[in-house]
């Protein structure tokens, strides 16, 4: 749950009072034009960026409380980056294992078993396990990154534009995986520009413009019947880009 979040970089206010909640097992999608603070919002939730004010709770734990161990809290949140950010020097399976051995201090055998399960869940086959990130396609990389976050058994997954660095033909395999996880009941907060995907997967879509959530609601009404002019403009714009791509 996020309440009243504010963040500024220099004199630019990026987040101007954002509040919302992601209930257990629900999938929420945040959409909006670029540069409106969506990535900053996700980073704040994982405490990778410190918010200026406002509070964040993970169930009963207040993440913004300065007394808590932030690293300890972060392992309960899975974060999937736009640019994958796999560790270059580790093979796919070791990328997944390292959080388990280093952070959770699991023995290697156990870590490997969990990593294998996670990789299979994102449809990364055995023959790719010992490949290095540089030897994988973008879609494969992103799925390994999802497996890496998943292996930590997070309470919530945060996806920061997981497909926007991918070629269009590779986005499908990644979105498919995210959708399957969501259907399995993984609580998720997703930032994306994929309208079709959003409408399929979201329990609620929030539109974020200029550091504020301007409109929220179930996918159908938000996409096809937005109440606000700016939301309408936004959807028109991305649909048009989508048409051009086709």
């Amino acid at each position: 749950m996020v309440k009243d979040l504010y963040k500024r970089y220099g004199d630019k206010a990026v987040l101007r009072g954002v509040s919302f909640e992601v209930e257990k097992g629900k999938v929420k999608v945040i959409m909006g034009p670029s540069g409106t603070g969506k990535t900053t919002l996700l980073k704040c939730i994982d405490m990778l960026v410190k918010p200026d004010s406002g509070k964040i709770w993970l169930e009963d734990l207040e993440l913004t409380d300065p007394r808590i161990d932030v690293s300890e809290a972060r392992r309960k949140i899975g974060f999937v980056f736009q640019e994958f950010n796999l560790f270059h020097h580790l093979t796919a399976i070791k990328n997944v294992m390292i959080g388990l051995t280093k952070v959770k201090k699991l023995p290697r055998g156990e870590a490997r078993a969990i990593a294998e399960r996670s990789l299979l869940k994102v449809h990364i086959d055995r023959e790719l396990w010992d490949k290095y990130p540089a030897q994988l396609s973008g879609g494969q990389k992103q799925r390994v990154a999802i497996a890496r976050a998943l292996a930590m058994e997070p309470m919530i997954m945060l996806y920061d534009e997981p497909t926007s660095a991918l070629d269009p033909q590779l986005t499908r395999e990644v979105l498919e995986v995210i959708k399957e996880l969501a259907e399995d009941g993984m609580t998720s907060l997703i930032v994306t520009h994929e309208v079709g995907f959003a409408s399929e997967v979201a329990d609620e879509i929030m539109i974020m413009i200029d550091g504020r959530i301007v409109e929220r609601g179930d996918p159908r009404s938000i996409i096809y019947d937005p109440r606000r002019e700016e939301t309408r403009k936004f959807f028109n714009k991305i649909m048009k880009i989508g048409d051009e791509l086709r």
Binding site: F81, N85, I98
Partner: protein
């Protein structure tokens, strides 16, 4: 004196290459430990420590080795009550000096790793130390291998300066052989050849590590 007499000096000169190699490995080893530690402090440490290390690097890169050798052997070590032999001083000073250079090599290597690597490590819940030791350093060390190889060949030639403290390394032996036999050019040429061979072996060695440790298909690897 003729070449026959000189040829008897060859084993004596060859033995000098062991000394040179000892100085180099010693210096490189100590320098590596210092270099890794200091580069981390320079990138992640507090401002006071960073300034101290900048000063250290500035001093060791800015003064000639010969001055450092004298300073440590005849001023600093005696003032600290350390009774150091010429050899210990030489290896220590070569190590301290190489540490200054290596810290800059590793600092550059750490700087060339994208910040996102650190971000991803923290997102997994790693502490800063875990992230540095298991994500940043393994990559930085790989990136630094070619430059460490270069540092090896530099320090190999630097080590010849240790004659000033009576260390009988390769170059000094070549000189003494030249003087005892009255043949000037050949001993130095032979010393030069041995340096080339040592450089070649060292470079091959680092190349081997590089090939073994490089990340397959990566851009910098």
């Amino acid at each position: 004196m003729n070449l026959m007499t000189f040829s008897k000096y060859l084993p004596y000169i060859f033995e000098g290459s062991l000394w040179s190699l000892g100085l180099v490995l010693g210096g490189l080893g100590i320098g590596f430990a210092i270099g890794v530690t200091f580069s981390l402090v320079q990138v992640y440490g507090n401002p006071l420590l960073r300034r101290l290390i900048s000063f250290y690097v500035w001093f060791f890169r800015g003064t000639p080795l010969i001055v450092q050798l004298f300073l440590f052997h005849w001023s600093i070590f005696p003032a600290l009550g350390i009774n150091s032999t010429a050899l210990t001083t030489s290896i220590t000073v070569l190590g301290l000096r190489s540490g200054a250079y290596q810290s800059q090599i590793f600092r550059g290597a750490i700087g060339s790793i994208e910040e996102n690597q650190m971000l991803a490590a923290r997102a997994l819940g790693m502490s800063n130390w875990d992230a540095i030791s298991s994500i940043i350093l393994p990559q930085a060390l790989r990136i630094a291998i070619p430059q460490i190889s270069n540092e090896y060949s530099v320090i190999l030639k630097d080590s010849a300066i240790c004659f000033i403290l009576g260390i009988m390394e390769l170059m000094t032996r070549a000189k003494y052989a030249a003087i005892a036999t009255g043949i000037a050019l050949i001993p130095y040429l032979i010393a030069g050849l041995i340096y080339l061979v040592l450089t070649y072996i060292g470079t091959m060695f680092f190349n081997l590590i590089y090939l073994k440790k490089r990340i397959p298909d990566s851009v910098e690897g």
